[in-house]
C-alpha cells in the first residue's frame, strides 16, 4: 500500500499536477509518465522489469507467472535451459531450475499444509507435473487413457490446472479435445466434462481455469478463448453461466481479491500482436483494459474490445502481486521477458 501511495504521489509530481486522468498525450513523452487502464485499475509501465542476460537465462515463450508464499515471482517458459525463472518483485534474478519441461505451459501454485507446490501443464509431454517450489517432482498426472475420451496421448494437450479447497485437481485440455478432467489429490480421475463443440457447455480452446471463491462457495471459471467467453461451472461440471467478452481472446482467469485478471492474447477480429489485459470487477463486468479500448456496456452488452496501444504483442498470463502490481508474460513475442505494470 505504501508503494502504491508513493507511485500515486510521484506520478502527480511527474506531470506537474496536470490532470493525468484526462490522459492528454501531449503532456508526456516518456513511458514512465504514461498511464494505461481505466477506472479503478490504472497502471504505469515498466518494460525493463526482469530483463536478463539472454544467453545465460534464455526464454522462448513466457507462458505463465505466479507469486509464491515468500513473495517471489515465478516465471514458466518452454526453454529447457531454465524452465522456471524465480525473481524478486524488483525483477532481480533469484534462481532458475527445470530442464525437463519442453512444453511448459500452465503454472498453478497451491499451498498444501503450509508448503508451496507448483502444477506444470506440459503440452509436449501431454501430462501435468506437480513439483515442490524448488523443482522436485512429487506427482505426475499422465494422459487420461482411462477416461475413454482419448485414442492416444497426443490428443491430450493440457494447458492449465486449478486446485479446489479439498485438494481436487481440475485440468483444462485447452489445446486437445477441450475436456475438463477432474481428479482427486491422489490422481484418481473422478469426472470429465466440457469437450469441443458449439453448445454453451462446450469449448473452443478451454485455455485457462481457476477456482472462484469470491462469493463464499467454490465454482470454476474457464476461458473459452476463441469464443471470447468466460464460462462458470459448478465443481461437479454443470454449466452455471457465461460471461461474454466480445473481441477479447482471454487466456486464463486469475483471481485477486474481488477482481478477475486475464491476459488477452488477441483482440478485435483476432489479428496477431493485438493483445492487452482484461480486468473484471466482482460482478464480472469488464472495468479496465490496459492497452485496450475503454470497456463500454450498451444495453448490458460489452462493446467489442480492441487494442489501442501496441505495448503488448501476445500477453499470455497476468500475475498480480501483493502490491496489486501486474506482471505480464507473453507468448511468441520475440523471446522478451515479462512487462510489469505498477498500479497507481
Amino acid at each position: 500500500m505504501i508503494r502504491r501511495q508513493f507511485i500515486k504521489t510521484s506520478s502527480k509530481f511527474t506531470v506537474g499536477g496536470l490532470c493525468i486522468g484526462a490522459m492528454d498525450s501531449l503532456k508526456y513523452k516518456n513511458i514512465e509518465d504514461l498511464i494505461v487502464g481505466h477506472n479503478s485499475h490504472r497502471y504505469k509501465i515498466d518494460m525493463s522489469w526482469g530483463a536478463l542476460n539472454a544467453t545465460a537465462y534464455p526464454v522462448n515463450d513466457c507462458h505463465e507467472m505466479v507469486q509464491d508464499s515468500k513473495g517471489r515471482i515465478i516465471l514458466l517458459t518452454n526453454h529447457t535451459k531454465n524452465n522456471v525463472i524465480v525473481y524478486d518483485k524488483k525483477g532481480k534474478l533469484v534462481e532458475v531450475w527445470g530442464t525437463q519441461f519442453p512444453g511448459a505451459h500452465g503454472l498453478t501454485l497451491n499451498v498444501e499444509n503450509g508448503q508451496d507446490f507448483l502444477y506444470i501443464s506440459d503440452n509436449e509431454r501431454h501430462e501435468v507435473i506437480k513439483t515442490t517450489i524448488d523443482g522436485k517432482i512429487v506427482q505426475v498426472f499422465p494422459y487420461p487413457a482411462d477416461s475413454g475420451k482419448y485414442k492416444s496421448a497426443d490428443q491430450y494437450v493440457p494447458t492449465e490446472t486449478a486446485i479446489a479447497e479439498n485438494g481436487d485437481i481440475y485440468v483444462a485440455d485447452g489445446y486437445g479435445l477441450q475436456y475438463i478432467l477432474h481428479y482427486n489429490s491422489k490422481g484418481l480421475l473422478l469426472n470429465v466434462f466440457g469437450g469441443k463443440g458449439i453448445a454453451e457447455k462446450h469449448f473452443n480452446n478451454a485455455h485457462g481455469i481457476c477456482v472462484d471463491k469470491r462469493n463464499g462457495t467454490e465454482s470454476l471459471l474457464i476461458t473459452a478463448r476463441t469464443q471470447n467467453k468466460l464460462k462458470r461451472f459448478s465443481m461437479e461440471g454443470k454449466l452455471i453461466s457465461t460471461i461474454d467478452l466480445p473481441g477479447a481472446y482471454i487466456c486464463r482467469p486469475v483471481i485477486h481479491k474481488e477482481n478477475v485478471y486475464m491476459a488477452t492474447i488477441w483482440s478485435g477480429d483476432g489479428a496477431e500482436n493485438t493483445g492487452f489485459v482484461s480486468i473484471l470487477d466482482k460482478e464480472d463486468k469488464l472495468i479496465s483494459a490496459p492497452c485496450g479500448s475503454e470497456p463500454k456496456y450498451v444495453n448490458g452488452k460489452l462493446k467489442k474490445m480492441y487494442q489501442t496501444l501496441k505495448v503488448f504483442k501476445h500477453p499470455h498470463d497476468v500475475c498480480v502481486d501483493d502490491d496489486e502490481n501486474l506482471y505480464v508474460a507473453q507468448w511468441n513475442s520475440g523471446k522478451t521477458y515479462p512487462i510489469k505494470l505498477y498500479r497507481i
Binding site: 504514461l34 518494460m47 477480429d269 483476432g270 479500448s293 480492441y306 487494442q307
Partner: protein
C-alpha cells in the same frame, strides 16, 4: 607446452566470441527497451473497422471505432484526399479505403486497407464438391461458404474461412442453369505469421477446356496479414459447369520459420461476375 598454450588460447577465443554474442543479444534487448521508453516510439493500434458486407449487391456500410484520448482517424477513399472519419461511410460502388489512427505523442498506426466489392448478384450453385474434402479444423460454413457473400476477417480462426493444406485443391461447381460469366474473383487470406500464403496459380476449366488462368509470385518476405482478391478474366461465355484448380506452393519459402512444410491456403469466397 606450446600445444597447451595454443589450446588455452583457442578456448579463450571461443569463450570471448560466446561472450560477445551474449553481450550483443543483451544490447539488442536493452536497445529495444530503451526505444520503447519514448512514447512517440509506441505505436497506436489500427482502428476497429467493421463492414456490414464486404461483398454487397446494393450498398455497404463501413464503421470505425477507435477511442483513445485526442486520437483521430483519417482515411482515403480510392487513394484520394485524406479526410477525417466522423461517421459511418456508405458505399454503392466497389471501393478501397485506407485508415490510419493518430494521436499526439504516439507513432501513427499502420495503414489499414479495406476493400468492398459490389457484385451483380448472388449465385447459388446446385452442386459444389472439393478435392480434398474440407479440413476438419477450418471448414468454414461448409462448401456453400464459397458463394454465400459472407467475408471472413483477418482472424482465420473466426469462421467463414475454408482452409486447405494440400499441394492442389479442386473445386467443382455445377449450376442449375447455364449462366453468363466473364470474370471470377477469389477472396483469399494472406497471413504469413499463421503460415497462410496465397496460391501459386489458379486455373478455371469448363470440363477439359481452360477458360481462365492466373499465376502468382511466391512471397519474398513476411508481410502483415491481409485480405486479398485474385481476379481472373474468363473467356466470356455461358457456363453450367466450372472446375477451379488451385495450385499451392510445394513448401513454405526459405526465409520463413515454417520453411520446408506445406503452406495453408484460406479461401472464403468465389465471386462470379
Amino acid at each position: 607446452m606450446t600445444r597447451l598454450l595454443v589450446i588455452l588460447f583457442s578456448l579463450l577465443l571461443v569463450s570471448c566470441s560466446q561472450k560477445t554474442k551474449s553481450i550483443d543479444k543483451d544490447l539488442d534487448y536493452l536497445k529495444y527497451i530503451k526505444f520503447l521508453q519514448k512514447t512517440d516510439n509506441i505505436q497506436l493500434a489500427p482502428a476497429l473497422v467493421s463492414v456490414d458486407s464486404i461483398l454487397f449487391v446494393d450498398k455497404a456500410k463501413v464503421s470505425v471505432d477507435f477511442e483513445y484520448p485526442n486520437a483521430e482517424i483519417n482515411y482515403t477513399l480510392n487513394d484520394g484526399m485524406s479526410q477525417k472519419y466522423i461517421e459511418p461511410i456508405y458505399l454503392d460502388k466497389s471501393s478501397k479505403l485506407k485508415f490510419q489512427a493518430s494521436a499526439p505523442g504516439f507513432k501513427t498506426s499502420e495503414t489499414q486497407t479495406v476493400q468492398v466489392f459490389k457484385v451483380s448478384k448472388r449465385v447459388n450453385p446446385e452442386k459444389i464438391k472439393t478435392f480434398p474434402d474440407l479440413d476438419e479444423t477450418y471448414p468454414g460454413d461448409g462448401v456453400e461458404s464459397f458463394f454465400d457473400l459472407k467475408k471472413g476477417t483477418l482472424n482465420f480462426r473466426a469462421g467463414h474461412w475454408l482452409g486447405f493444406q494440400s499441394e492442389g485443391i479442386i473445386i467443382i461447381v455445377d449450376f442449375e442453369k447455364a449462366i453468363p460469366i466473364e470474370k471470377v474473383k477469389f477472396s483469399l487470406l494472406s497471413d504469413h505469421n499463421a503460415w497462410i500464403f496465397l496460391p501459386k496459380s489458379i486455373r478455371v476449366k469448363d470440363h477439359d477446356y481452360v477458360i481462365g488462368r492466373k499465376d502468382l509470385n511466391e512471397a519474398i518476405q513476411n508481410t502483415a496479414a491481409s485480405l486479398e482478391f485474385v481476379e481472373l478474366e474468363i473467356e466470356a461465355g455461358v457456363y453450367k459447369h466450372l472446375e477451379f484448380f488451385i495450385q499451392n506452393f510445394k513448401e513454405i519459402p526459405e526465409w520463413h520459420q515454417g520453411k520446408g512444410t506445406s503452406p495453408w491456403i484460406f479461401i472464403d469466397e468465389i465471386i462470379i461476375e
